[in-house]
């Protein structure tokens, strides 16, 4: 059998070299046109008016306050969705209960909702005409067109990221290691910190990287709940829009280059984590429904 395989192997058919290079050429041309050219043009646009203007735009108080708000929104939403992701994965992977598939579908829900609608739902709940709008305005608490609304919208759009990395990972790992620790007398938290966390470490880091990228880059949902008040309710993507629409194109691209840099760092980190843990490959941002096992 092995002998036959080695004999057969060199004869395995592939496309003729002409076809191979044609396909590689088509793939690279498509990637270059749609990905590389836009990428290069961001930095070209950012530096169009020179380094002086570039750094002046980045040091502008309005830019700095946008950066600060983006860091606040990501700084709150990523840890909260992390805690949720770990809790959901623990419940789903370590126990059997009815309605698990429904729960999995519901966790995925925010992925299939338009960002505009994601922002709108919070306006309906907390806005001036919304359910709790009058209660909050009576107590002088502003949620919509203010920072809390931006944080809520960010939490919503990044809701599934950590959970959907951890759930399949923990399901694949099973519960035998934790059960063994339990039988040996470990407490719940000891099991969690000493057995589970080391096992899911890379999945958790992976989820955090993806969650953070979306949290910092979210535009549509945040746009609905932000009042677009410069210096107060402007995140980095919204600031890009304001600069662009006020015809400060070089300024818009200068700020956009920060987000592009973030995207490139995200891709590098993502590739590095995939290299560290090959099981995570291909699950990145593509919301393929749960239950898919690539054997």
């Amino acid at each position: 059998m092995t002998a036959a395989e080695t004999i057969n192997a060199p004869h395995r058919m592939s496309e003729p070299p002409f076809m191979r290079w044609l396909l590689i050429g088509i793939a690279l041309a498509f990637m270059a046109l749609f990905l590389v050219v836009p990428l290069v043009s961001v930095f070209a646009g950012a530096l169009k008016q020179g380094f002086g203007f570039y750094f002046q735009t980045l040091r502008d108080p309005m830019t700095l306050s946008a950066i600060k708000l983006t860091l606040i929104a990501a700084g709150i939403s990523v840890p909260l969705n992390c805690i949720f992701g770990v809790a959901a994965a623990w419940a789903i992977a370590k126990f059997d209960f009815r309605g698990k598939n429904v729960l999995l579908t519901l966790i995925d829900l925010p992925f299939s909702i338009s960002p505009v609608i994601s922002g709108m739902i919070y306006v309906l709940v907390f806005g001036a005409q919304g359910w709790f709008g009058s209660w909050f305005s009576d107590h002088n608490i502003k949620i919509i067109f203010a920072v809390p609304g931006i944080v809520l919208a960010t939490i919503f759009v990044t809701f599934p990221f950590v959970a959907r990395e951890l759930i399949p990972l923990m399901q694949a790992q099973g519960r035998t290691e934790e059960e063994a620790a339990r039988v040996l007398g470990a407490s719940g938290w000891q099991i969690f910190w000493r057995v589970t966390i080391p096992n899911i470490k890379w999945g958790l880091i992976y989820g955090v990287i993806l969650c953070n990228a979306r949290a910092m880059g979210e535009f549509g949902a945040v746009s609905v709940v932000s009042g677009h008040i410069q210096g107060l309710t402007n995140t980095i993507p919204l600031h890009v829009q304001i600069l662009y629409e006020s015809n400060n194109i070089a300024g818009a691209f200068a700020v956009a280059s920060l987000l592009t840099f973030l995207a490139l760092v995200t891709l590098v980190l993502k590739t590095w984590v995939e290299y560290k843990n090959t099981a995570l490959r291909g699950t990145a941002f593509t919301p393929v429904p749960f239950g898919k096992k690539s054997n």
Binding site: M13, L106, L109, M120, F156, A213, F219, S223
Partner: protein, 283 residues
């Protein structure tokens, strides 16, 4: 159900079931389910006549047509080129392959607003790409074609990332068997390889289509947002929100949510189909 849970509890060795499931449901309810139900409750305050007047208005119908059309063609283009990219990445070796593979996810990692202003600038009549098309009378930015370009950009990774793992798992012995039975390369591709890729290809297509339907950030800059001409559904909803027409916005949102839900169902069905396919292959 209660007895079932009690019965199962005997077997539970690990702690934390109530805590973690309770927290999961609470957080899911507060962040997702309760706010989302507001869309349906707000819409239910409309009479049927008001509802249909909003969702079947000429402006809404034009927006659906454009959203579905542009999303469909964008997903189609991605299905063709995505398959080529996935094929090349799995089957061939060339310089810079790892880099190309990592770059495929750029449309997900790049914030949509950045994609939006970049594409609008590139395809404007004086942009890097637009200036080559302008002499032929092809206008991309601020036209329906521009919306198609933006939706193609954001949907690019879906097909590659759904097809790639299936192609990697494909057993080359099947190709050898087909070849030994006298099939030529084209027959092997269309009769042996392509059928196993179909579920993944359709899944990727549906995901790219669904994403394109809801897309806002990358389109808003390249579209001129003219009603009946270059206004997709999310832009129309945004216009209604800006005019504080919340009931109209939620009525349109209900239509969108129902469509997304149907797409989600079809993706799940495709997934089930492809899993069955894989099991059959193993057997």
């Amino acid at each position: 159900m209660a007895t079932r849970q009690l019965g199962a509890k005997k077997l539970r060795v690990l702690p934390g079931f109530k805590l973690t499931l309770g927290y999961t449901l609470l957080y899911l309810g507060l962040i997702v389910l309760i706010p989302l139900s507001a869309v349906f409750i707000k819409t239910s305050t409309l009479t049927w006549a008001q509802f249909s007047h909003t969702v079947f208005s000429p402006q809404a119908l034009a927006a659906y047509r454009l959203s579905f059309g542009a999303s469909f063609f964008a997903a189609l283009v991605n299905a063709i080129f995505g398959l080529v990219v996935a094929w090349v990445l799995v089957r061939y070796n060339f310089f810079g392959k790892k880099l190309v593979d990592a770059l495929v996810d750029l449309p997900f990692a790049l914030p949509t607003a950045v994609a939006g202003i970049t594409l609008a600038t590139l395809y404007a009549p004086n942009g890097w790409i637009g200036e080559w098309l302008a002499p032929f009378g092809i206008k991309v930015a601020y036209t329906q074609l521009g919306i198609f370009v933006a939706l193609t950009f954001i949907g690019l990774p879906f097909i590659v990332r759904t097809v790639q793992p299936v192609l990697e798992d494909f057993d080359p012995e099947l190709e050898d068997a087909a070849a030994s039975l006298g099939a030529n390369r084209r027959q092997i591709f269309w009769r042996v390889i392509f059928p196993t890729l179909t579920p993944a290809l359709l899944t990727g297509f549906a995901l790219a289509f669904a994403r394109a339907l809801g897309e806002y950030g990358s389109v808003v800059f390249i579209s001129s947002n003219i009603p009946m001409k270059t206004q997709i559904v999310p832009l129309l909803i945004m216009n209604e929100l800006d005019g504080f027409q919340y009931a109209r916005a939620t009525a349109l949102a209900v239509v969108m949510l129902v469509v997304s839900f149907l797409l989600l169902l079809s993706v799940n069905a495709l997934q089930w189909w492809s899993n069955r396919y894989n099991t059959n292959n193993l057997a």
